[in-house]
């Protein structure tokens, strides 16, 4: 069995969840003000599954995400200054202002890139696992994808290849119940996406995505299995996004009831975890408040950094197309 999490690890877990929440609060505000161009897909409500999964990984393990991309990079340990600057399309952004909200990446913490073509990251994650295996390292790779992506052909191709080659990869489905506005139940043939694991002879596990410790335990088991050479796993975290698919895209289309949203908000993953930290892990209200205050300062600092950063130099439109076109 794995050793129980230390108080420091629990605090870090809470800190990262709160970073995602407050980072996105700030991003929504900046987007409304017109300071963030383009689309903004938030993961508020999903912080537990993101953080629980990422914290089951080492910094040198690989992670691939999707268009709902802010939480994954924060969860994997990326610093928020470069992420916020990227959202504001600044030259100091993690992708030099060329990727934006849907394509964050921080290779220094194993974040190999978020991708905005649904399902396209699954083969990439399997490939990173193949690379790790061929190099004889014990690194593993984790891919976040949604219920919608589980209907893509790349899901099938990546899971099958990972299974036949026993690749050290964890496929983590963030089932938030909707592909944009379409209910998963309408377009997914199985009740649990984890059931699809049977088709690839790998374990399939459903977990409460609002409980960070449960997610962490399930992902850690899959990580251990992968590191031991026993192959991939398909995990499904049942979760919910509070906001629309992307900022300003819902327009009261009525695809979710306010009752449903309220029901999920009553199981807010950050509130639940704060409560558990106090009740079961010896945290005081002061401990929690001091983390909240620290994270709020970090987010303010990231926003100030992003706002004061210059836009990319105009020649950046033409750099990084090929290896020979690096920035000067």
């Amino acid at each position: 069995m794995n050793a129980p999490l230390s108080k420091d690890q629990l605090a870090e877990m809470y800190r990262r969840m709160q970073r995602i929440r407050l980072f996105e609060d700030a991003a929504v505000d900046l987007h409304k003000r017109g300071e963030i161009p383009g689309a903004l897909h938030t993961a508020q409500g999903q912080e537990a599954e993101i953080t629980g999964a990422c914290m089951a990984l080492r910094t040198d393990d690989y992670m691939v995400g999707n268009h709902r991309s802010h939480g994954h990079t924060i969860g994997k340990g990326a610093r928020m200054r470069g992420l916020m600057a990227e959202l504001l399309a600044k030259g100091t952004g993690v992708c030099k202002g060329k990727g934006g909200s849907m394509h964050l990446a921080d290779f220094s913490v194993g974040s190999l890139g978020e991708t905005s073509i649904v399902g396209s990251g699954l083969p990439t994650a399997a490939g990173a696992a193949l690379g790790a295996k061929l190099q004889g390292s014990d690194r593993v790779s984790l891919c976040f994808f949604g219920d919608g992506a589980s209907n893509e052909g790349t899901f099938h191709e990546a899971l099958n290849m990972a299974a036949i080659w026993k690749l050290p990869v964890i496929f983590l489905c963030e089932n938030n119940g909707y592909g944009q506005t379409t209910p998963a139940a309408q377009v997914v043939a199985v009740n649990d996406i984890a059931d699809r694991a049977a088709g690839y002879a790998m374990p399939g596990v459903v977990v409460d995505g609002q409980d960070v410790l449960k997610v962490h335990a399930v992902v850690l088991e899959a990580v251990c299995r992968a590191r031991a050479g026993e192959g991939p796993s398909l995990l499904e975290a049942k979760t919910y996004r509070y906001l629309d698919h992307a900022a300003n895209m819902g327009r009261n289309l009525g695809y979710r009831s306010s009752d449903e949203i309220e029901r999920w908000r009553r199981r807010d993953p950050i509130v639940l975890f704060a409560r558990a930290l106090r009740a079961e892990h010896g945290f005081t209200g002061g401990d929690i408040e001091s983390i909240d205050a620290q994270v709020a300062r970090e987010v303010e600092d990231a926003v100030a950094f992003a706002r004061s950063s210059p836009p990319p130099a105009l020649n950046e439109a033409f750099t990084d197309v090929l290896a020979g076109t690096r920035s000067s």
């Binding site: 073509i117 699954l122 399997a126 690379g131 190099q135 790349t154 099958n160 290849m161 290896a323």
Partner: protein
């Protein structure tokens, strides 16, 4: 120096790079059984981990190769027939081509995607199997595209492609498989993005691609008897295209014939013609001629298929029109 066929030259390139660099591995359908003849004895020499059979799952193959490349490997993927790249098109365009740019230079995707263009008399493969689709990939920034025309070139270009830090698609023409040329025994590379003047001349520039290069050379030899000096330029790499060598040649000869086995619309030939028309218009002494496959599907019947592609006689006729 030794005589090698095009197919043997592909084998040598792959074997030498597998021996030289542990990061290089081959994946593709039927590569272990050497179905296409480019991997004979490779499993025995390099092991099944590095000579890896894949499922029939082209999007997965492309994406898995991209992921492995991002973490430091150098995958060479055998897609066998060129149209089999289509199921992987999204992965090639959205992930392979764009990751370096999208992530601000953090990602490198040094993959080589090989495929064979299998069309014409020996193939009778009909519309879905006979494509010569390289110009689709020329259109996408971030990809390099090679179309080698001889055994000598395919070896040097493939070795350079495997060592290149960018994704390279290699389109190899099955009609060249059995053609032989002198291949150096030493380790040689042909730089990507450099055209080759295959035949020097003064009267007309023929820019020919892949299997049309030997046709253009034959046309040049035949017209030499009439005192017409044909210069044959082989771009070898279509992306990035060595526009300067083509323009230098046309500035000298004043005439261009662009030859391409792909369809006419948005072909490599039309891009070459557009380059010359816009950059060397004042040097032109006659209208640009383009010899391509017409914009129709490839029919199964050999009777219907036979006359669709460029050949020596069509190139000669185009040269005469250019000189008229």
């Amino acid at each position: 120096m030794s005589k090698q066929t095009y197919l043997q030259a592909i084998q040598s390139a792959l074997r030498e790079e597998l021996q030289r660099d542990e990061r290089v591995f081959i994946m593709g359908q039927d590569v272990q059984s050497n179905l296409f003849g480019t991997t004979p004895g490779f499993v025995k020499e390099f092991g099944a981990e590095r000579i890896r059979n894949t499922p029939i799952a082209e999007a997965g193959m492309a994406g898995v190769a991209a992921g492995a490349a991002m973490v430091g490997m150098r995958p060479v993927v055998d897609f066998s027939i060129a149209p089999f790249l289509y199921p992987a098109f999204d992965q090639i365009v959205s992930t392979v081509a764009k990751s370096r740019y999208l992530y601000g230079g953090q990602a490198a995707v040094p993959v080589v995607f090989r495929s064979t263009m299998f069309y014409g008399r020996a193939a009778s493969s009909a519309a879905q199997h006979s494509d010569r689709p390289y110009s689709l990939y020329m259109h996408v920034p971030g990809l390099k595209v090679i179309v080698p025309s001889s055994a000598h070139d395919v070896k040097g270009l493939l070795k350079a492609a495997i060592r290149d830090d960018d994704p390279v698609l290699s389109f190899e023409d099955a009609s060249l498989w059995t053609t032989a040329s002198d291949v150096p025994d030493n380790d040689y590379l042909i730089p990507l993005g450099k055209a080759d003047v295959k035949r020097p001349g003064t009267d007309v520039t023929v820019v020919a691609i892949g299997a049309t290069v030997p046709m253009a050379l034959a046309a040049g030899r035949q017209l030499a008897a009439e005192g017409i000096c044909v210069e044959v330029v082989d771009p070898r790499t279509l992306a990035p295209l060595d526009r300067e060598t083509i323009l230098d040649s046309v500035r000298k000869t004043g005439r261009l014939v662009a030859v391409d086995v792909a369809w006419r619309t948005c072909s490599a030939a039309s891009e070459i013609a557009a380059t010359v028309a816009s950059e060397a218009f004042r040097n032109l002494r006659g209208p640009i001629q383009i010899v391509t496959t017409p914009d129709t599907h490839i029919p199964f019947s050999p009777v219907l298929e036979a006359d669709l592609y460029p050949n020596k006689d069509k190139i000669i006729a185009a040269i005469r029109r250019a000189l008229a």
